[in-house]
């Protein structure tokens, strides 16, 4: 009996020991390790993320704070969000962007919606396919100056060596010291987190909700996907741009097109200040080729085209109906899908209703309340 009591005690103590060892070993995961949960509808594939910059909640939080902070520009005048404004789907309502010194950029600010899926970034660059590379351009470019950090590196970094940044960096990288590598990685993580898949079109197409789109929008959708209008040939796929990759799609596409916007010499040339992909590839056929941007939230991202030269969706439809603009209509390098078309008044309204059905109000509202100031 005594032996049994001792045995019972021994078993009890052993159990406690095992249990406590498990409990003690269960130290909460460091914040930097906390995995990021993508905000995606069920079944949607996750974007590809570089191995050396995995997503984490803390990195996204740091990136978001940096994105809205004017301290990231050398003269503390603008932040990333000055041009990529959340209420305009992270684009801005002016033809072309203006940098921290007031210097004008030659191109229109692109929306950042679902940019994590882009296989190519910016308006026309076949070799630029990682957000971490792209972010270096607005940060360090000297012509045009955007944030203008070049030449002011230590001055800018100093601003992030105090609270709340020390804690944000510590949480994100287990190291409170700010440096540009960490800043770039955090900004990239934040813009990757800007996913938008809750438009009426998404609810109709991917959630099988027949009532999500109006009849006009459905008629417009038929036009959009018709061989008569050919819109979807370039604005194809779930992101309405051919330039998409994700965990189930890694193949490399070439999503650049000449739309006949210009033709200054009747041989297809674009104005010398911006000739598109040819500047990168030096291939004559790439004259005037630009990347087809996403049409998600296109209702709020006016003006349109690489130089912002079309003010409204109405203008854009007129432009494509004419098969280009001015001499651009006979640009020999123009995409074969832009032969022009005729639309009746109601059809045009339907097409615009469809484009409006790509607006994700929840996404736009979610990002509205961010102050454009230093934290």
């Amino acid at each position: 009996m005594a032996l049994n009591m001792y045995t019972a005690k021994f078993i009890k103590v052993t159990c406690y020991l095992i249990l406590s060892s498990y409990l003690l070993a269960c130290k909460p995961a460091a914040l930097s390790q906390k995995e990021y949960a993508w905000n995606l509808p069920k079944g949607f594939p996750s974007p590809l993320v570089p191995k050396d910059n995995p997503m984490s909640v803390a990195k996204v939080a740091l990136g978001k704070t940096l994105f809205f902070d004017v301290d990231l520009s050398f003269n503390q005048s603008i932040s990333c969000a000055s041009c990529h404004q959340p209420e305009f789907a992270f684009s801005e309502p002016q033809k072309t962007a203006v940098g921290s010194t007031g210097q004008k950029h030659r191109r229109n600010t692109q929306s950042l919606v679902n940019v994590a899926y882009n296989s190519n970034l910016t308006w026309a660059h076949s070799g630029l396919n990682q957000i971490e590379q792209q972010i270096l351009i607005p940060m360090f470019s000297e012509d045009p100056v955007e944030l203008g950090i070049t030449g002011h590196e230590s001055q800018v970094l100093q601003r992030f060596e105090k609270q709340p940044y020390s804690k944000l960096f510590e949480d994100a990288f287990d190291d409170s010291q700010a440096d540009f590598d960490k800043i770039v990685k955090a900004l990239a993580s934040y813009v990757r987190s800007l996913t938008s898949f809750d438009s009426p079109f998404d609810q109709y197409a991917y959630q099988s909700n027949d009532a999500a789109m109006s009849d006009a929008a459905k008629r417009g959708m038929e036009l959009f996907f018709s061989e008569k209008l050919e819109c979807f040939h370039c604005h194809g796929g779930f992101n309405f741009t051919q330039s998409s990759q994700h965990e189930n799609q890694r193949l490399d596409l070439r999503p650049f097109h000449n739309t006949g916007l210009y033709n200054v010499n009747d041989k297809g040339a674009y104005p010398i200040d911006d000739q598109g992909l040819i500047e990168v590839t030096l291939q004559p056929n790439d004259m005037g080729k630009f990347r087809a941007p996403t049409l998600r939230n296109v209702e709020v991202s006016a003006p349109y085209m690489h130089d912002g030269s079309l003010a409204t969706l109405d203008d854009v439809i007129e432009f494509y109906a004419a098969g280009g603009r001015g001499h651009g209509t006979i640009n020999p390098l123009k995409s074969p899908f832009l032969t022009g078309f005729e639309l009746q008044f109601q059809q045009k309204q339907d097409l615009i209703a469809f484009l409006h059905s790509l607006t994700d109000r929840q996404f736009l509202n979610l990002n509205l309340n961010n102050p454009l100031a230093s934290p």
Binding site: F225, E230, G237, F238, L251, L253, S335, T339
Partner: protein, 293 residues
């Protein structure tokens, strides 16, 4: 001392080389040649893939440009789906399983041959750079039909396939499908499904396009799938007799575009009433556009 005792093997060598030696050496060489020949012939009893080549006027295109219809054409995109691959020989026809890669899924393969720009010169790369180049090329181009397990092409006399995506895979949500059935530039919509064949070409003056796929598909809207086969499925099936070893599948571009005028308004996107579509379909069916070499 007899030197033969210290080196007992020497006489045998000289015997071999100098008495009937020459004859033996030649017999040895003959056997060597024969076995090399046999092994080179028979290596296709263990084939892991069939290579696809694009030819024009009887020879392979090594870059994406060629002359035809008084124009120099550059190929902007050439890609096509192949499914229902069947090999027939003396035994009953077999449908070899295809491996699963970014270019192949559910026994459907997307061919997108490497037709690089003819003006760019090949440059010497260091090892790391060339490895990177090969890796990035593998995501851009595919000119192989790869089998899941080795197949005996020697025993096969006929290769059959469909230039299409099967109906049951053709109209699904592309987001949820595996690569390559989720490529936007090869997809029309839920209702119409995939472009089975896509050829986009540009000359200095003309753009010319051929997109082949199913038409006359019934669904509530373009974002809904048809429940039954389309009026014109446009799936062309090929039965090709083996001409040589069976290692290559050749597509003759010139035979495909024969008899077309190759003008801007002569493209075929399967709009109603495009005359070029009937010519191109007829070419696919009758002009030996594909050959099994």
């Amino acid at each position: 001392m007899n030197p033969a005792n210290t080196l007992p093997f020497r006489p045998y060598i000289s015997n071999f080389l100098f008495r009937k030696g020459i004859k033996k050496v030649f017999i040895f060489l003959w056997f060597g040649c024969l076995s090399a020949l046999l092994s080179s012939c028979s290596k296709l009893n263990n084939a892991e893939s069939i290579q696809v080549e694009i030819w024009h006027n009887g020879s392979p295109l090594d870059c994406g440009a060629f002359k035809s219809h008084q124009q120099v054409w550059s190929i902007q995109q050439l890609a096509f789906f192949i499914s229902d691959v069947t090999l027939s020989g003396e035994d009953t026809p077999a449908q070899p399983q295809l491996s699963t890669t970014p270019w192949q899924t559910d026994d459907v393969v997307l061919i997108q041959p490497n037709l690089h720009d003819c003006t760019s010169k090949s440059e010497s790369h260091d090892n790391a750079a060339s490895k990177e180049l090969v890796a990035s090329e593998a995501l851009k181009t595919n000119h192989y039909l790869r089998f899941a397990a080795p197949v005996d092409l020697d025993a096969s006399e006929q290769l059959s396939f469909s230039l299409a995506v099967p109906f049951e895979l053709n109209h699904q949500n592309p987001l949820l499908q595996a690569s390559p059935l989720n490529l936007p530039n090869m997809f029309w919509s839920w209702r119409s499904g995939h472009k089975f064949f896509r050829l986009d070409m540009q000359s200095p003056d003309i753009n010319w396009v051929f997109h082949l796929g199913s038409v006359g598909c019934s669904a509530a809207t373009t974002m809904r799938s048809p429940q039954s086969e389309c009026v014109q499925p446009n799936r062309v099936t090929f039965h090709l007799d083996k001409m040589y070893t069976g290692a290559k599948l050749v597509m003759h571009l010139d035979r495909l575009i024969a008899n077309t005028s190759m003008q801007n308004n002569d493209s075929c996107l399967f709009h109603s009433g495009q005359e070029s579509c009937s010519i191109l379909m007829s070419n696919l069916k009758t002009q030996d556009v594909f050959e099994w070499h």
